[in-house]
Amino acid sequence: MMRHLISAADLTRDDAVLILDTAEEMARVADRPIKKLPTLRGRTICNLFFEDSTRTRISFEAAEKRLSADVINFAAKGSSVSKGESLKDTAQTLEAMGVDAVVIRHSASGAPYRLATSGWIDAPVINAGDGTHQHPTQALLDAFTMRRRLVGRDAGLGQDLSGKRITLVGDVLHSRVARSNVDLLHTLGAEVTLVAPPTLVPVGVEHWPCEVSYDLDGVLPKSDAVMMLRVQRERMNAAFFPTEREYSRRYGLDGLRMAKMPDHAIVMHPGPMVRGMEITAEVADSDRCTVVEQVANGVSIRMAVLYLLLGGSEPAATNARTEEN
């Protein structure tokens, strides 16, 4: 394991499988009367959110608290950042306060990398989403959800996603979720296909380890999992498609399209969903849609990442296990 988690591309197959297996154990804690482990007692983790987020921040906070860490939540709005403080000054302030790890979300791609490599702060840095770049814990929780549903909870232990066919549909251009998923799914041996309007396919996609298609109906019957991406209007500064209605007719998932998928195939969505745009209410509320599961799995994955990065004197070495009585 590396010291930081900045990009899904940094993870080896063994690292990723170790995180997924650890998360499987963490998930069991949620079934206990006392949903808490003492593992990170006395460690302080700062959630540094420079961009609005509800589900990711709450998910990290739940994971941190379940591991008994002390949590400091920092939202840029109404903070010293709005007074003009730089990332460097904020980082040095946290360092002076003795923070043991920083979870950062930022609208600028590369901010977590800068924080991890600048020398401003000595703590491990976990990327909770930066601009249109990466969102590694989202990719991990998606892979965890796929492995559980497509391979099995117990049968999946130690396994990757070799041979699984995953389709990502929608606004790939602005999606850090798509980038992280392509990287991680490729590492885990899955075959990934992107489906998007040509205007929402990024430049340089031919160098990504995946296929690109513009025909959703042709890809659906050959997919084990279909991940719908939210159309990110907040990042759009131009007209990428004529009308919302046209977008949803060509790239939205409704009941008829879902019927073309194999019986075992699942529908995923990183949330928040725009019902009626990329996904209809009928699909969102069906048994095959894993949106709510993904949220629950997010807490387990983040617990696993926090434990493996912070639980010992140094990050976990894959397959290292010593025992003492």
Partner: protein
Amino acid sequence: MDTEQQTDAARPVLEAPDIARVLTRIAHEIVERAKGADDVVLLGIPTRGVYLARRLAEKLESITGARIPVGSLDITMYRDDLRMKPARAIGRTDIPGDGIDGRLVVLVDDVLFSGRTIRAALDALGDIGRPRAVQLAVLVDRGHRELPIRADYVGKNLPTSLRETVKVQLAEEDGRDTVLLGSKPAS
């Protein structure tokens, strides 16, 4: 237990038939002390404690005719030395369906040494439920306790020096049943 390098001088102190015999004895002792083992739940501590717990469950079943619930309890997240070593992979915790509330939990481990593993196991149990009582069964007690903890059922008391290593090998994990006493390589 210590997985330090074994030297060539490691000698077996228990062989497969001995291990089978002591497990049979421990099973009878459990039945005797629990007056029939009706409410016993066996929880093995990974890795080798789990295999020992399963073997004990089989022996208890042959004695009492009843199925004894058996599970595993990983204590990694409760260790007091987590920060002294790299983060380690966590093992499986598998609590039998009926839980442990009001039951007699018998923890099963291969080697009892400092007692810190068992201290962590007691903490873990407290987060999972409230057993009627907790007892401890170990294959080998090598001494050198650092906490006020003792075993209720001991396969073999093995007085050792801190310069020695005790390694338990079980067929399910290592291909053979044996307990090896060796000495640490001179540093």
